[in-house]
């Protein structure tokens, strides 16, 4: 199983991604979609990234998931650039024979993408203000709990 990992600026077609994973013969497909929240006065979310490194880092994380759980399919799509509220940022889909592997791998992938893929979010607000999103301690803790498990 070779993970399908993509980085781009266009919208993610969740239906197409899920249909491909559902057709692999497994009994379980788990997915996660991250979306730009329509928070107060937010007009756009900008995702900066490290062009020479990002896809390789995402692929490394996906290969970790594939090594840890018996998976039939794994898709990760992450966008960069400027996104409006309601737009998809990231899609993670995992197919496996049984649900345990699919759900755990999905959770691992989003936890590690949040803390180990070189993206930086900036929030643009109505009135012209913009601020870099601060890293969350909860995200570090979520990522760290996978360290101790081979």
């Amino acid at each position: 199983m070779i993970p399908d990992v993509r980085l781009g600026t266009t919208d993610i077609d969740v239906a197409v991604e899920l249909a491909a994973l559902e057709g692999l013969g497994g009994g379980a497909v788990a997915s996660f979609t991250g979306i730009v929240r329509g928070d107060d006065a937010l007009i756009a979310l900008e995702l900066e990234h490290y062009p020479e490194m990002t896809l390789a880092a995402m692929t490394g994380i996906a290969e970790q998931a594939a090594a840890r759980w018996p998976l039939l399919g794994l898709t990760v799509v992450h966008r960069h650039g400027r996104l409006a509220p309601g737009e998809r940022i990231v899609f993670i889909g995992v197919a496996a024979s049984r649900r345990g592997a699919a759900i755990k791998a999905m959770q691992f992938l989003i936890d590690w993408l949040k803390t180990r893929a070189p993206f930086w979010k900036r929030e643009h607000r109505a009135g012209g203000g913009a601020s870099w999103v601060e890293p969350r301690e909860a995200d570090s803790q979520a990522a760290a709990r996978w360290e101790s498990r081979a």
């Binding site: 995702l47 490290y50 020479e52 990231v90 180990r116 993206f119 930086w120």
Partner: protein, 85 residues
């Protein structure tokens, strides 16, 4: 030794450019020492690089700890903790 440096997010903004080539003195052996040397330039460098616990780094496109050696490195990136996903 010539190093290509790249900066991201508010590190890039404070320094005012997205990268540059530098020739650090020979006694600069680790990422930490490189950052301290750069911060010594003052101005935007001091502003961007003053708080080490708010910085992360990659050597040749791999995340490293601050005490990682820079010998043989081609590209060193300095940036805040990532916030993607």
């Amino acid at each position: 030794m010539t190093l290509d440096l790249v900066y991201f997010a508010w590190v890039r903004e404070a320094i005012g450019k997205d990268g540059e080539s530098v020739e650090p003195p020979e006694d600069v052996a680790t990422v930490f020492e490189l950052i301290v040397w750069l911060a010594g330039r003052g101005g935007g460098y001091a502003e961007a690089l003053g708080q080490l616990d708010r910085l992360r780094a990659a050597v040749d496109q791999r995340f490293v700890a601050m005490d990682a050696p820079i010998a043989g490195a081609k590209e060193i990136a300095i940036f805040p903790p990532v916030t993607g996903g």
